[in-house]
Amino acid sequence: MKSTLPLAALLAAAFTGPVASAAELSIPHEIYTLDNGLTVILAPDNDVPIVQVNVWYHVGSAEEVAGRTGFAHLFEHLMFQGSEHNNNDYFQPLQEVGGQVNGTTNLERTNYFEGVPSEYLPLALWAEADRMGYLLPALTQERLDNQKEVVRNERRQRYENRPYGTVWVTLLDNVFPEGHPYNHSTIGEHADLEAATLDDVTTFFKTWYVPNNASIVICGDFDVAEAKKLVELYFAPIPSGAEPTPAPIPTVKLTEEKVIRQTEAGAPFQKVWIAWPSPGVYAPGDAELDLLSTTLTDGQSSRLVSELVVKKQIATDVMAYQSSFDGASMFVIEATAAAGHTTDELVAEIDKILAVVKAKGPTVEEVEMGRTAYEVGFYQSLFTVAGKADRLNSYFVNKGRPDALAEDLQRYMDTTPESIRATAESTLGTGRVVLHIWPATEAK
């Protein structure tokens, strides 16, 4: 498709030129702050006549108080239940004009987004502003009660009624110690969801859903001057609130191995997850662990896949990934045992291979292949305005400026076999969680 973006030319340069040209990468944008503290990021891209509105509130399950696990996500649901002047299901006016609407909650932030035809930019901004400013007058006990049920059903559907569905809950609970903001998952516990009150909603809204704790990206085919006027009209009058204090995220170090063995009636085969606490997103070592994961499990020739799946055939799959969060992350290796083999065999074999990587590091060729895979994936995430908008907001929140593309890519270019080896050695130690889940019929 046609593109008038300088991005295309810059990316082309990045691929054909030397690695250093990563420094030239950019997404053209404008950023400013309203008097009430709302950060506004405008990034035109006139490929097709659509526009994406993407709002981040800098609050996630990390900010939940004791006895209210799952509340940040429950609150996200309430943001779709109508606001004072759009007192209807949030989807109603937007889906009517072809909008793609949703929101997600994770440990450190909650995002809301809608992609609409360009001419409906005013509608999308009006709807987002109304729930940012005037959510509470539309909130009723009935709506809260209904969404508690919906979220509890979400928990049943996505966690409980799925083989291995509660793994994430168990890993967070064990990798991050009691009291750590990441100790519990975003979905929360049934009893806590049930206990949520209208007062909780009001307090949470007034504390966290203030314009000075939010940032909005508009990305797509729109007129910048017109967008500024609309943002001013709808968002500027929303009063700011007290400056919220995000939960501090301590780094985590486990001192010993914790082995958890579970059986599950619905589990079809033995699986194992090995999880280590690891450096937070953008911290030293974060990019190294991303590249380490490609050395370990990207493709049939990677170290763990070639050994466990292709040659020894003791596993049917194995996957490594750095799951990056603000402040503290998890590095995870998960594997499925082939019939007739046990997850204990897999852990022993994985440990042997990790010992080699920790001693000798990846080869130069492995690092280069990993970088290439990362570059391609990186650019693929910019194919859509939705992807681009979320990336701008993410960089803004994490790096303090929306366009940190070049710097982000440069992190990968700066890794060396030695820096990856050293990170593997310091991160993948004996302090870890090993979670085995076996079919109930195979319990020892």
Partner: protein
Amino acid sequence: MSRSHVFSLLFALASCGPKEAPIETPAAPVEAPAPDPRFVKPEPLAKRPLTLPEVKTATLSNGLQVVLIEDHELPLFSLQLTVRSGAFTDPTGKEGLADLAMNLLDEGTTKKDTIAFATAQKKLGASVGSYSGGDSAGLSVSGLTKNLDATLDLMAEVLLTPRNDKNDLERLRKDALQSILAQRTEPNAMAGRALARTMYGEAYSGRFETEASLKAVTLKEITAWQKANLTPANGVIFASGDLSLDALVASLEARLGKWKGGTKQADPSITVNSLTETTLFLVDKPGAAQSVILAAREVPGRNEPGYDALVLGNAAWGGTFMSRFNMNFREEKGWTYGARSSVEDDLGPGTWSASTSVRADATVIAVQELLAELDRVKGEKPLTAAEVEYVRSSMINSWPSRFETPSFLLGQQSSIWRYGLPADWTATYLSRVQAVTPEAAQAAFVEHVAGKPLALVVVGDLATHQAPLTALGKPVVVLDADGRVVTK
């Protein structure tokens, strides 16, 4: 819609102010105070133009057609070599043949074993992988434009000289056996298998890979399958990305020019087991926190009369978040995280289906309510013009977003090629959606769905639910995790 909404809002504001003393002869019309523009649902701006990308085609000297949509935004390309073959070609008792044949294909070449072939791809930042589905199969290739030739070298090498190693086959066979176990324990997969077996019986869409059928497939059968089905006469190439047609054709011609012959695979005939009354099919999942409910029946296919009207009728009843089905089950009753219905179409007749996962203790009442919601549409609560206009507006307005990446348009081209749709299938979409009257949408939904017998599958804890579901008075059949009737 939005204009009338504003007027009614103005009216509401004007009429609910404080009571005033009656004015006998107003000198001028009373003006309502101007509403704050911040709080009034805004009118749209002027539309901005949509330029549809051009679909370019060429034919290689071996007769293979190449379809390209250029997209120069990023220095990447992707390409699919697709053939008209898939699981439907599996003989009875050899279910899994096409799957294994395609899975084995990308495990290496006569010159490169699995690991060397994977390394070659990674060095280029490329991916060359095979896939297989019910009615199509092929190779999916993507990479950096600057590495086009080297990436297509790998594609040609694996297509023309696959390794087909016996040890690789045994490994893949073990994987396939293991994935059967997963299919039997994931509740949505269980429901899908039960439904397919129920609706299609021994037609290909009702047959699944089993331990016996996977073990029965031989390497010789696999190589024969590849030779018969992976031919230029049976295939087409769909490509997109930072490519020119000339450069792509030259690169393909140099690598696939000698790949010749073959025949076009004939499509299977597919018949559906018709039900004479709505029947419950129950699959046990002991202790399940939720029950999966999946109702379905056969409906007209894309090229048949009534299809477009049915699509709009379905969208209004259950196709979107705002539709009756979801609003009732999720937002009013709170039984579920979501409820949707859809119309799907590939080879054979179309399929209408409605699905939801409900809290276990709401299983029976949800089954009753699903049937009641369908009854209402043919009785006291037909689809309204407003409901149909709502989904029509949604479908028309979301059209531009489909062209943000080439994948939608290429998918449309693929359907035109695979299912023999008219060449202007994409171009006529908006006019087809416009042509359906609300009455026609209502009539089609009743004719093909609401007034017809359904197969209704429930996957849940049968110790709890079987007796009360049976008490509903519909015929009940208990199936195992493979969709076979359980006889006691």
